[in-house]
């Protein structure tokens, strides 16, 4: 099999034509997103270059402490990314903790299952496996939780009258928030289900593409991709349901009243 083509600095620079193209389009159309695009391109470049060097170091050391530290940093960034999307007064008290707990628990349990039961890699903290897998699991869960949180906050605000009506009719907070929670859950897991539907036909998922480019057999790449997509599904579903199940409760007090 042909060796992986290593991109030199000139080849890599040529890829920056794409954001440049978008920059021109934005400018011509008068859409004030140029600086956002420049910042995003700059941040992506710096972050990935740094990540590359850090990963080289972590892979070379391969210690439990460094691997776990990387995992926790990922978790913290994921939680902060979700929380920063919302203004403080949009969220009921305690929601930040709930988001952190949901993302951490959902991703941690899925990752542990995946590493110990599905792959059975030795040692279990082998960073070459654990870090990229954690990245995919945490990243997707973060997106799912952010979407579910947006829908929970909007749903509880828009449907306040209906939610209160169910309390008036003798329903419990769980019954009152059921519709909002269900539609938020459905919407949050749909992107994952949609990507499963199109996997292999419309798109070759990132991990698989990477492995194939690196010279692995497509069959090996597919087996990993299948397993990781199922783990992502589990992690997204788990993180989202934990967040929603705990999150809706924050709208009610112990007297079964809607908080102001």
């Amino acid at each position: 099999m042909q060796e992986l083509i290593k991109l030199n600095i000139i080849q890599l620079s040529l890829a920056y034509l794409f954001p440049l193209l978008l920059f021109v389009i934005l400018k011509k159309r008068g859409l004030k997103r140029e600086w956002e695009l420049l910042l995003a391109t700059f941040r992506m470049t710096v972050q990935l270059v740094l990540a590359g060097y850090i990963l080289v170091y972590i892979f070379a050391k391969a210690t439990l402490g460094l691997t776990l530290l990387s995992f926790f940093i990922m978790e913290i960034f994921a939680v902060l990314t979700v929380i920063r999307k919302f203004q403080k007064d949009q969220m009921p008290k305690g929601m930040k903790r709930t988001v952190a707990f949901a993302i951490f628990t959902g991703t941690f349990l899925s990752l542990i299952y995946f590493v110990f039961v599905v792959i059975g890699v030795q040692p279990w903290y082998e960073p070459r496996y654990l870090i990229p897998l954690a990245g995919m699991i945490v990243g997707n869960s973060m997106t799912g939780v952010a979407l579910a949180l947006r829908l929970l906050l909007d749903g509880m605000k828009k449907n306040r009258v209906v939610v209160e009506e169910i309390l008036i009719l003798g329903g419990s907070p769980k019954e009152a928030a059921k519709e909002v929670v269900n539609s938020a859950f459905e919407a949050a897991i749909m992107p994952t289900i949609t990507s499963m539907m199109s996997a292999g036909i419309v798109i070759l998922p990132g991990m698989m593409t990477g492995q194939i480019l690196a010279g692995a057999s497509p069959l090996v790449a597919i087996s990993y991709q299948l397993a990781i997509m199922l783990a992502i599904l589990g992690s997204v579903a788990l993180s989202v349901i934990i967040m929603l199940s705990l999150g809706y409760r924050l709208y009610f007090n112990s007297e079964v009243q809607l908080k102001k």
Partner: protein, 207 residues
Amino acid sequence: MFEIIDMDLKGIISIPYLKIEANKLTVILGPSGCGKTSLLKLLNKLISPDSGDIYYCGKNLKDINSLELRKEVVMLSQNSPLFPESIKDNLKAALNYHMLPIPENFELREILKQVGINKDLDDKVLFLSGGEKSRVALARVLVLDPQVYLLDEPGASLDEKTEIFITEMLKDICQKKGKTMVMVTHSKEIARKYGDVIIDLKEYSRG
């Protein structure tokens, strides 16, 4: 049935003492924003007072489980939203929240007749007029057959004739079944004609 002592809801109402008697139709009158709806919500424990006490059957509301209270004390809110399903589904939802068995269709139709609705149980509420919707909301409360009814302007979206028909029906339930009703209305005429007790909330209002 209810006793309110030194109760204060900041900026809305302040009641030194008020008694709402059992098995009577108590009518609450008062201008807009004087706290009529808030009073019903307080009695239903949907909100709590900032200070003071409310007693139900001699027991402080603070010591009564809200869900248990709402099984006995049922409120019909103003412009009560219906679930966008059939009339029957709406009645069933209320019964399910109260964990009550679903009556036979003829019994449910009887309740609809009581509120003057001549529609099929499977009709979607989306196609009902405003007045019909408000009567389905009332039927949703009647089907629960609670001990206490808290009614926030049940005739608000009805024409005068239908409002009188509904108020007479409620008065009839109150007398024949020995139920307690607290009804908010803007109509002094309805209050005088049907109310056993009339409370003008203006004197307690802090709005």
